[in-house]
């Protein structure tokens, strides 16, 4: 970057940091002013976090949640991208399947909980299934859109160089659609992280979602509830930042508006 960008770099961190500090201050004083005995102040939450760390439950719960997300989101990626590419590639098939997808898509994964429990029983598999459902549709839709938005000059150039249809899909259509697919994946990961917490509240006895509900049920430990909530937020942020790094890869970032 040039010299002009330097002060911006400082401001890029300074202002968000100030806003975060302000948030915690506001929280602190609101607890004091309102005189609540139930809702914890930031320092109590910090104590709660340390307690969870000492008891070694926090890392275990984070690990369980991440493992479930990785499995469900991974399966949604492995199945969703090829399906989306195929549907984008054959618009005629897409037209046939589209109504069904449009009906299934707006159904919250939470609505599937009873169904998931019938299929998989109360346990890990049901939670993973719910995460899969939440992540699957955004990935499929992004892949379909990605393929149908590939400029025709790229397909034509590929055909001109003698590529067979499968090569065309792998060497032209997929890389051309990848920026949009990545956006779909990021969206899907966000949803997966939302769903894992909810799924863990009903289906299993580990993970951050379970930590939230268990802290409340076993002795109304709201300091631990909020501590778990904070961890959920921070990990969600880290996952999103990780995906944003992916969007900066040179063979991908051409596809975004500010991508040059």
């Amino acid at each position: 970057m040039n010299a002009l960008a330097e002060p911006n770099k400082l401001e890029k961190f300074l202002w968000p940091l100030l806003a975060t500090a302000l948030f915690f201050a506001l929280w602190h004083y609101l607890v004091i002013w309102s005189g609540t005995k139930v809702f914890p102040a930031p320092f109590q939450v910090e104590k709660g976090l340390l307690e969870l760390l000492h008891k070694n439950v926090l890392w275990q719960d984070i690990g369980s949640s991440l493992r479930r997300v990785a499995t469900g989101f991974g399966a949604a990626t492995i199945l969703g991208i090829p399906l989306g590419l195929a549907l984008g590639w054959y618009p005629a098939v897409n037209q046939i399947v589209n109504p069904v997808m449009q009906i299934l898509r707006p159904i919250s994964p939470m609505a599937w909980i009873p169904v998931a429990i019938i299929f998989f029983g109360v346990g890990d598999k049901a939670a993973i299934f719910l995460i899969f459902l939440g992540a699957f549709f955004p990935i499929v839709v992004a892949s379909i859109n990605g393929v149908s938005n590939v400029p025709s000059v790229f397909r034509r150039a590929g055909r001109n160089f003698g590529l067979a249809p499968t090569q065309l899909l792998a060497r032209v259509v997929f890389p051309a659609a990848l920026p949009q697919i990545i956006v779909g994946l990021r969206l899907a990961l966000g949803i997966a992280w939302l769903v894992v917490v909810a799924a863990e509240m009903v289906a299993v006895d580990s993970g951050l979602g379970y930590l939230v509900i268990d802290s409340r049920n076993s002795g109304k430990r709201y300091d631990l509830v909020v501590a778990a909530m904070l961890m959920i937020g921070v990990i969600g942020l880290i996952l999103d930042l990780g995906f944003r790094r992916l969007e900066r890869i040179k063979s991908i970032r051409w596809g975004y508006r500010d991508g040059s």
Binding site: P151, V153, F154, R156, A157, R159, N160, F161, G162, Q167, R171, V172, P175, A176, L178, K250, S251, I252, W254, G255, G259, S260
Partner: protein
């Protein structure tokens, strides 16, 4: 043979590219729109032919039909006597620089069509064409990091790398600024003289056509028919202020129905 064909001065024996009685009709909303009308044209091996005509007349459609991307309604396109039925790596179509693949580096783009070669042959070929179009030092760069002129060179290099016998260029310099266009014309002529490809070049720029072509095909308004074929009998490098140049250019301007005063 019809009388129109017999009268066509472009009709000669042993052509590389032979277009015979080509008609193309688009059907849109159940209406037939004739786009190309009875076009017959021979292009000999190594010849540089420019196609000009009024805006929207069907120049690009003609080029797309020659390239095998569109199927003629009647008539035929033959290359070396063989009917063209679809796109083929022996004949590469060059778009405005929009055709380069933004997810591949310069090297990746030039090597794109070389998947049948082994690695060392491919590297050699890629390096050769990077040098030819003057993109040394940009091997690892992505198209978004290149200027318009460099992207256009990259696309030409990608086309040349697969060693086609014919190049179809569809207003390749249309989106470049006038200085870059001037430079690019010189580059294209240099490359053409080195590689002696048969070139069909569509442009809306009459000066460009007269500077580059052996022959300029002037198309009429839609449905496009060949209105005139002008031989550019000036040796390269061409003096673009010589009386003969101006005479030929003004002749084409008149053919299209433009006055040369603004």
């Amino acid at each position: 043979m019809s009388s129109a064909q017999a009268a066509n001065p472009a009709f000669a024996e042993g052509a590389k590219l032979r277009v015979q009685n080509l008609n193309l009709v688009f059907t849109r909303d159940e209406k037939s729109i004739p786009v190309l009308r009875n076009i017959s044209l021979d292009v000999s091996e190594g010849e540089f032919v420019c196609v000009v005509g009024p805006s929207g007349c069907g120049k690009s459609t003609l080029l797309n039909t020659l390239g095998g991307f569109l199927t003629p309604t009647s008539g035929s396109v033959r290359i070396d006597g063989e009917i063209v039925r679809g796109p083929d790596p022996r004949r590469i179509f060059v778009f405005q620089e929009r055709g380069v693949f933004p997810w591949l580096t310069v090297e990746g783009n030039i090597g794109f069509g070389l998947f049948k070669l082994n690695v060392s042959e491919r590297q050699q070929r890629v390096a050769h064409y990077i040098n030819m179009v003057g993109l040394q030092g940009f091997e690892e760069a992505y198209p978004s990091q290149l200027s318009g002129g460099m992207k256009q060179r990259l696309e030409v290099a990608r086309a040349l790398a697969v060693n086609p016998d014919t190049l179809y260029l569809d207003e390749p310099f249309g989106s470049l600024d006038s200085i870059t266009r001037h430079v690019m014309r010189g580059e294209l002529l240099r490359i053409w003289e080195a590689e002696r490809k048969t070139i069909v070049f569509v442009t809306h720029d009459i000066d460009e056509a007269v500077q580059l072509a052996d022959r300029v095909v002037v198309l009429s308004d839609r449905p496009a028919a060949i209105q005139k074929i002008v031989h550019i009998d000036i040796a390269h490098p061409r003096d673009i202020s010589s009386p003969r140049y101006l005479e030929l250019r003004d002749g084409i301007l008149q053919q299209i129905g433009l006055a040369h005063k603004i």
